[in-house]
C-alpha cells in the first residue's frame, strides 16, 4: 500500500499544476491505492480439494484527473488516469488523456462544490489490517474452514446419517466461500474544494456456504467487520451448523405463502431491486421502480430505509465520498413514504436542470432539496476506490427499520403458518427494474412455519419466487428490531438487514426431476 502522506502529496502537487494550466477551467485530481486480499475456501469431503483454493491478492495505485477545458463551442469535460505513477509526470500524463478524451456534456455544470455539511468520520480504519502478511491471509482462510470442519466432526446426528458407509466424508460435506480484506486509501483535491482531503478504510468480510450434499442440506454463515481481530472464523462454524440443521429437507407446493424473509433475502431484494431504484440516476433514466413517486407512499407504513456512510464501526462507512464531499445519513423511505434518493453531485445537478424533472420525480426538484443531497458519489468498480473511473452513485451502510420493535418470535406468531426464507439466489428484475417484477430461487437456510414455530427445513433449490417488489413492500406485516450486517456477492454496500414478514409471496415448486434422476 502507498502511504496516505504520499497520496496527499501527489494530490497537492497535482492540484497546483492543474491550477496553472491556461485551458483548464476547473480540475480535480483523485489519487488512490487499493489492496484486495482474498483467501478463497473450497473444501469437498468427497472430491479431492485444496481446502484453501486461492490465497491471492490484487493491488493497484494511481491517479485520475477530471478536468474541464475551455472551448469556443462550450466547456468540455474529460477524465484521464495513470496507473502506478504518483509523480507530477503521472498528473501530466493523466491531464493529457483527459484533454484528448474531453467531450461536451450538456448536463455537466461544474465539478463538485463544497457541501454545507461537514465531515464527521475520521481515523476509523483498522491499522493492523494494513499490515496483513501472506501467512496471515492463508491462515484466515484455514481458520474459517476448520471451524466448519469442527462442527461437522462433532455432530452426533451425522453418524446416523452415515449408515451407508463407515466414513463421514461420504455424506459430501462442502465448505465454500472466502475471507476478503479490502484496504483502501485515497486523496482528492479540486479547484472547487478548499483543501486536499484524504480517507482510509478497511473492510473485512467472510462469506461461507456449507452443505451436506447427499442430504441436499445447505447453510450459510457470514460476517462483516471493520477490525481484523473480529475475524475469528465464526462464519465457517455458522454455515456448518446451518447446513446440519437443514438435513431432512422437504418440498413445498406451488402457492401464495405468508413468509418471513431473513437478512440475506432482504439484502438480495435491497441490492438488486430497491436500492438501484432509489438513485437519482435511475429516476433520470426512467428505469426506477418508483418513477414519479417521490413524496408518495411506496411501501407499508411500517418500513423505514436510510443510508448512512458516516458511522464508526460499520463496514460500508467512508469519511468522504470519491467526490470529496462528506458522507452522512440520507433518509430514503420513511414510514413507507419515499422521501429521498441516493445521489452524486453530477446526478443532482443534472436532475435540478432537467426540464422533465417534475415528471420523473413526481414533484418539482426545487420543492425537495433535501431529497437530492449528493452524499453517495463513489468510484467503486471492484477492488476499492478506482482512480480510473468517474464517480457514480453507490450506497454505503443501508439500514432497514420498522416502527414497532419486533422479535423473530413476534413475526412467527403473526405468520402462524407459512415459510421462513433464509437465503435466495439470482434475484433479478426479470422484466426490467421499472416493472418491479422479480424472480429468485430459494437455496438454503429455509424452514416451514407451522403454528407459529419453525419446523421442517426446506430442501435447497426446490422453490422459485415469482413476484413483484411493490406487492412485497405493500404486504409487509412486521420487521424485527434486530438486524445484521449483510453483503451479497459482488455488491459494495452493506445492508443492516432485519427479518421482515410479508403477508403473501408467490412460490413455485421446481426441479422435481432432481429427486429421481
Amino acid at each position: 500500500m502507498v502511504s496516505l502522506a504520499t497520496l496527499k502529496r501527489t494530490a497537492e502537487e497535482g492540484l497546483r499544476y492543474l491550477r496553472r494550466q491556461k485551458d483548464v477551467q476547473e480540475a480535480e485530481v483523485f489519487v488512490a491505492s487499493n489492496d484486495g486480499l482474498t483467501a478463497r475456501v473450497n473444501y469437498t469431503s468427497h472430491i479431492p480439494c485444496n481446502g484453501v483454493e486461492e490465497p491471492k491478492s490484487t493491488s493497484s495505485h494511481g491517479l485520475g484527473v477530471r478536468a474541464v477545458f475551455q472551448n469556443p463551442q462550450g466547456p468540455r469535460i474529460g477524465l484521464g488516469s495513470e496507473a502506478g505513477d504518483l509523480s507530477l509526470n503521472g498528473v501530466k500524463a493523466a491531464l493529457e488523456k483527459a484533454r484528448r478524451s474531453a467531450v461536451h456534456d450538456p448536463d455537466f455544470t461544474t465539478l463538485p462544490r463544497p457541501s454545507p455539511e461537514s465531515r464527521t468520520l475520521t481515523k476509523y480504519h483498522d491499522p493492523s489490517a494494513m499490515t496483513l502478511t501472506d501467512t496471515d491471509l492463508v491462515q484466515a482462510g484455514w481458520r474459517v474452514l476448520t471451524r466448519a470442519l469442527d462442527e461437522f466432526a462433532k455432530a452426533g446426528s451425522l453418524s446416523a446419517l452415515a449408515q451407508t458407509g463407515p466414513k463421514l466424508r461420504e455424506l459430501g460435506f462442502i465448505v465454500g466461500g472466502d475471507v476478503t480484506v479490502l484496504l483502501e486509501r485515497m486523496a482528492i483535491g479540486s479547484t472547487r474544494l478548499p483543501k486536499v482531503q484524504t480517507d482510509e478504510s478497511t473492510l473485512i468480510a467472510s462469506f461461507v456456504t456449507a452443505m451436506v450434499e447427499r442430504e441436499g442440506a445447505k447453510g450459510t454463515g457470514y460476517g462483516c467487520h471493520t477490525r481484523l481481530s473480529a475475524m475469528r472464523g465464526d462464519a465457517g462454524a455458522e454455515a456448518a451448523r446451518n447446513a446440519l440443521s437443514a438435513v431432512g429437507g422437504v418440498r413445498i407446493k406451488d402457492g401464495e405463502y405468508a413468509v418471513i424473509l431473513g437478512p440475506q433475502p432482504v439484502t438480495e431484494l435491497m441490492c438488486n431491486l430497491i436500492l438501484p431504484s432509489l438513485t437519482v440516476a435511475s429516476f433520470y433514466d426512467c428505469s426506477s421502480a418508483f418513477h414519479g413517486r417521490l413524496g408518495r407512499q411506496v411501501a407499508h407504513d411500517d418500513l423505514t430505509i436510510y443510508d448512512h456512510g458516516a458511522l464508526t464501526g460499520h463496514m460500508g462507512s467512508k469519511g468522504i465520498t470519491c467526490e470529496g464531499l462528506p458522507t452522512g445519513r440520507t433518509d430514503l423511505i420513511k414510514d413507507g413514504k419515499l422521501i429521498g434518493l441516493l445521489s452524486s453531485f453530477y446526478e443532482t445537478e443534472r436532475m435540478l436542470h432537467d426540464p422533465a424533472a417534475k415528471e420523473k420525480l413526481g414533484v418539482p426538484p426545487e420543492d425537495c432539496p433535501s431529497a437530492l443531497v449528493p452524499r453517495n458519489g463513489f468510484r467503486f468498480g471492484g477492488g476499492g476506490r478506482r482512480f480510473d473511473m468517474a464517480p457514480s452513485v453507490a450506497p454505503t451502510n443501508v439500514f432497514i427499520e420498522g416502527r414497532k420493535k419486533k422479535t423473530r418470535e413476534d413475526l412467527l406468531r403473526q405468520v402462524q403458518n407459512g415459510v421462513y426464507i433464509g437465503r435466495i439466489w439470482y434475484t433479478y428484475p426479470i422484466n426490467g427494474l421499472r416493472t418491479g417484477d422479480f424472480t429468485a430461487t430459494v437455496v438454503g437456510d429455509s424452514y416451514m412455519i407451522k403454528d407459529g414455530k419453525l419446523t421442517a427445513p426446506i430442501k435447497a433449490n426446490v422453490v422459485r419466487i415469482n413476484d413483484n417488489i411493490h406487492q412485497v413492500l405493500r404486504n409487509i406485516m412486521g420487521i424485527t428490531s434486530k438486524s445484521r450486517g449483510t453483503t451479497i456477492w459482488a455488491a459494495d454496500e452493506v445492508v443492516y438487514a432485519p427479518e421482515i414478514a410479508v403477508a403473501r409471496l408467490r412460490l413455485t415448486e421446481i426441479a422435481g426431476f432432481m429427486d429421481v434422476h
Binding site: 456534456d105 501467512t135 450434499e213 430461487t441 421446481i510
Partner: protein, 526 residues
Amino acid sequence: MMPTVSKAITTDLVEAFKNSAADLAAEAPDTYKLCRYADLRIEVTEEKHAGSENGTSKYAFEDSHIACGIRVLAGDSTIAPGYFGQLLGKADLPRLTQTLASGLKRAYARAVANAREKARIRDKYKDLGEALSDTRLAPVEVQRDTVKAEYAIDPRQVCLDDMVRYVTEVSRAVQDVDEQLKYNAVSAVTLVTRELFASSEGACIDQSFALTTGSVHVVAVSETGDQELSDTIGHQRGWEVVTEGIVEEHIRNLDLLTFSTNLARDAVKLAHAPPLRSSDKDVAVVTDPHFNALLAHEIIGHPTELDRALKMETAYAGRSWLLRALNDTMVGKAVASALVTAYSDPSLPGFGHYKYDHEGTPGRKVVHIEKGIFRGFMNNRQTAAILNVPPNGSCMATEAHLVPLVRMSTTVFAGGARAPEDIIREVDKGYYVVGHRIPSIAESRENFRISAQKVYEIRNGQIGQLYRGGGIMADTKTFLMKVDAVGRDFRLFPISNCGKGQPMQGRRLGNGGPTLRSRAHLTGPA
C-alpha cells in the same frame, strides 16, 4: 538483463518482455526450492470507449494498461497453490522484471504457507482431512506460439472524436424514432489486447485479439405501458464491427445505427402491447436463435464448467446438476431429446474465440450433449487431473491480475435440419419467444426463468399477437427432453457480461444456437 522498453504502454511491449518473463517462469523451480510449478501472465490492452445519452455526447475514454498475474504450486509434504496479481502503469515499466520477480516471491510464500497448513489440517482431521490433496495439473503439450489479432480497422487507429460523433449520431437517431422513447444510451468500445503466457514447463504463448462492441439501452413509455430494452453487438474484430456490421456464416451483426433504431422501434411497439399472462401449465414454445444463445449459456455452458460441477463455486455462481459426486454423474445418460446436440468451441468466431486458454492449453471443441446423451465438461488442468481426463483448454481470466477460472468459450446448441418457418407452422397453439433479456437460473442450473424481448402468440401455424413482459420457465432437463424440432438457422451472438469467481470476474463470451421447439411455462408480469 533489463529489456529496453518504449515510453508508452502499447501492445508492442509484450515483445520486449517476452524473453525475460519466460526465463523468470522457467527458472522458478530452481529459484525456489519448494516450487513445483509456476506460470506468469502479462496482458497489455489499448482501448477506447465512447458513450452518449439522448442524442448528446456523454463520455469518452482512451487508455492503455498493463496487468500481471502469477500462480505458483509449491510445498513439501503436500502441494498447494498461491497467487499474486497487480495492475501496473507506465512508471512500472523500467522495473517490470523486478515487479514480476517480487510477485513470484509473494505467490510462492502464499503457496508454501498454504501447503504447510494443508498438511497440518489433513493430519488433524483424519477422515474429513483425507480429501485435502496435492494440487496436480493434468499434463499438456508445451506450446510456444504467436497469434495475431484480426481486424479491418485497427482499434488503435480509430479517432476518439469520431467514436464520440458516431455514438452520438446513433443516439440521436434512436431518439428520433418515436417521441415515446423517454431515454436512450448508446456506447461503443474498441480495443486490442495482447497476452503473454509463460510457464515453468517452458510454454511461451503470445496471443493478441481485437474486440469491438456496441450497446444500446432504450426506455419507451406509452399511455398503456412501458418497456426497457438493452442489447449488444460485438465481435473480435476492429471498429468496422460497429460502423459497418459483420456478416459471416453464423453471424449477422448489424451496424450499430441499424441495430439500435430497430431495438428502439421494438421498445415502442412493446410499450403498446398487452402484457403476457403466465400459464398454469406447459405450452408449446418456439424459441429463436437469439433467445437460445442465452439459454445455451445458462443451461448448457454453466453446468458443464467442471469447477462448478466439482463444487468450487458453491458459495458464488453455483454447482451443476450434472455431477453429484465423482461416482454419480450424468455422463453417458440421457439429459435431452435425441434431437439435441450441444457443445463449446473456442474456434468459433466472436467474443468466445481463442486459440490457447490462460493455462497455455490449446482450446478445443468439447461436446456436452450428443444426440441427447451427456458427454462431458469444460475443464482446466487442475479439474481435469481430478477427473483424470485430458485438459480441453477452457480456463480463462477476465484480466491478467485475476485468477483464471473454467469458462465457457462459445457454447451452443448445434443446428438441425428444419426450416424455422416450418417449426412455427406446425404449431396449432403456442408462443414464439424472440430475443433474450434477463435470466434467473437455479443454483445447480436445474431450473430456469428467462425473459424475452418479444413473445408472439402462434395460432394455427401463424404468428399473431405481440405481448410484452413475457418469458418462459422450465426445469432444465424437462425442457431439453421435450425438444421436438431443431432449426437449421444456427446463429452466434455476443454475451457481454458473465459473472463468476470471487472477486467476481465479468467476462465477454459467445453463445448461440438455432430455432428450437419445446414446452415450458409462460411467464408474464406479476
